[in-house]
């Protein structure tokens, strides 16, 4: 089968790999019909996530058709077209029982902080991902959810990560009706978070980024205020304070993570030299621009602990600064309703369709923000 193949920082290709096999009674093999490149994949692509091994296949946002099931799989059957949440979760452990599917204790042997994630390095369990014609999906009774009748697969594939992560970012922000929310980062997750803030009754939503085309997109898609931190302000923290009557925002969402621009020292020590958990510029801004007693919601991914504060583990373990990997399974029923009722329109985020054979170009385009790329979708030889 054809699959994306990681060869080193900023080097990937599509190559022939062996077909995945059933390894556990609750496994399924899924023929992938849609797969996205996620902003989080760029952390791997740039070589910033430890234990990203050459030969791995990325891709944690995908949907596909069930081709084969293990003997204990009862919830999906061969032929079902399913949404595959990015978390690998057993559904039965202490954490899954609390709805913390992003923190499953039975899906990752190689780290105790983060649960299993498809195609997201050996630190996240060593699973091959869905940027391939076929993928092994463990715990097929828990994660995969049949795409409802009439739902466009282009909408469905974004329910695997972008929509739930954006939604959970807004949910974790604890928005009270009328609150002012600031979102740092106008990537797909930040844009979706800004859109979802309104669902929780926000009174004002501000998104801050440095790419004009993304800000323009956010302004239209999420109906929010959008500002460029390089052009519209000297200091984002002072800007937020000034625009909130010197109080600070009620809630701030960090939808950037380790790749943040805007601070030379952070860029050099965090992104280039990897001496800390990536560049924590957005997190600094979030903490400093929220009001006293406010809430900071973190969904931006950070690396491991070469600095003093293991902020990446705050996210991965879902500690109470209100940060977590999205628990996709918990949120899916409500989000499916929202999509079917036209409240959220995920597929409008998709700006580029890249054939799997040209995956290297897709990564370069997304990483370098070329051609006004917001969200690239990988398409497969057999389009459904």
């Amino acid at each position: 089968m054809l699959a994306m193949d990681y060869r080193g920082p900023k080097r990937v290709r599509a190559t022939q790999k062996p077909m995945p096999e059933i390894k556990h009674p609750q496994d399924a093999i899924v023929r992938v019909t849609r797969s996205c490149i996620c902003g989080s994949d760029l952390h791997l692509y740039n070589g910033n996530v430890p234990d990203t091994r050459v030969g791995s296949t990325f891709g944690h946002e995908f949907c596909g058709i069930v081709e084969e099931v293990g003997p204990e799989v009862t919830k999906v059957k061969v032929g079902d077209h399913v949404i595959v949440p990015f978390n690998v979760a057993c559904g039965e452990c202490h954490f899954c029982k609390q709805g913390m599917f992003g923190n499953c204790h039975e899906s990752n042997t190689q780290s105790s902080a983060v649960g299993g994630i498809f195609g997201y390095s050996h630190t996240a369990g060593g699973y091959n991902g869905g940027q391939a014609e076929y993928a092994r999906v463990p715990y097929a009774n828990v994660g995969p959810t049949v795409i409802p009748e009439g739902m466009d697969p282009d909408d469905a594939v974004l329910l695997t990560d972008v929509v739930p992560t954006g939604y959970q970012a807004a949910e974790m922000a604890g928005i009270q009706p009328g609150d002012t929310v600031v979102v740092f980062g106008a990537g797909p997750v930040g844009i979706m978070a800004a859109r979802c803030c309104w669902l929780f009754g926000a009174g004002r939503v501000i998104i801050i980024d440095k790419e004009d085309y993304r800000l323009e997109f956010a302004r239209n898609y999420a109906n929010c205020e959008a500002y460029n931190f390089e052009k519209d302000m000297d200091d984002p923290v002072v800007f937020v304070k000034k625009t909130t009557d010197f109080m600070g925002a009620d809630c701030v969402i960090d939808a950037v993570g380790a790749e943040a621009a805007g601070n030379a020292m952070q860029t050099i020590t965090g992104r280039k030299l990897l001496l800390q958990a990536g560049s924590t510029t957005a997190l600094h801004w979030a903490i400093n621009s929220v009001k006293k007693g406010g809430v900071v919601s973190i969904v931006g991914v950070y690396g491991p602990t070469d600095n003093l504060v293991p902020i990446g583990n705050v996210l991965n373990k879902g500690l109470t600064i209100r940060a977590n990997q999205a628990s996709v399974k918990r949120l899916l029923p409500r989000l499916i309703d929202h999509v079917q009722n036209g409240i959220i329109k995920p597929k409008e985020l998709i700006t580029h369709r890249i054939p799997l054979e040209e995956v290297a170009d897709g990564y370069r385009m997304f990483a370098a923000k070329l051609d006004n790329c917001i969200k690239p979708l990988i398409v497969f030889p057999t389009k459904i």
């Binding site: 900023k10 080097r11 390894k23 669902l199 323009e216 109906n223 409240i343």
Partner: protein, 175 residues
């Protein structure tokens, strides 16, 4: 670009998920009724057989019921990774060797390609085609910089040391 926001209350879904209790997302123990979970050590009945070399964090006693097999440790990078897994995730000794192993692994990947008679097409793998199409100035600048640095490095490494020595010696004589 103008920041003209429409009346948010007219947006589809405004306030639809507002939570009057402002209930935090986590912990959800009370809400999910698992605060005193007697079955907290529950393990799935079936375990994936460990038929490959699997590196395991020292922060848990057992192997998780399922795991990925994307790329088992091999070669020098594998040795470094095995060393890293002697330390907890709270220790430099874990993460820094893993980052080093990743870089070593890249070289191993190129050697493996060559050993299989495949010369990697670095230009294509880096997606430079789209960079050329959409960001030509930056691309040309980047390539020129790489060429300049590479040429400089080659010149530095291949300079004639005997000549340098003689030049220095002669300059001493002149004094």
């Amino acid at each position: 670009m103008e920041n003209t926001v429409k009346d948010p209350q007219k947006l589809p879904g405004w306030g639809i998920d507002a939570n009057p209790e402002n209930d935090p997302t986590y912990p959800m123990r009370e809400r999910m009724n698992v605060s005193q979970d007697p079955d907290s050590k529950h393990r799935p009945d079936a375990l994936q057989p460990v038929d490959i070399e699997l590196l395991k964090t020292i922060e848990r006693p057992n192997v998780s019921a399922v795991f990925g097999e994307a790329a088992p440790p091999t070669g020098l990078s594998g040795m470094i990774r095995r060393f890293a897994f002697n330390y907890s995730e709270s220790h430099y000794g874990h993460w820094l060797p893993l980052l080093l192993a990743d870089r070593v692994n890249v070289v191993e990947g190129v050697l493996e390609d060559l050993a299989h008679g495949h010369v990697p097409n670095i230009f294509a793998e880096k997606g430079y085609k789209v960079e050329w199409e959409h960001n030509r100035t930056a691309f040309v600048t980047k390539m020129a910089t790489i060429a300049l640095v590479t040429t400089g490095a080659i010149l530095l490494l291949t300079r004639d040391k005997d000549k340098d020595y003689k030049r220095k010696k002669n300059s001493y004589k002149l004094r």
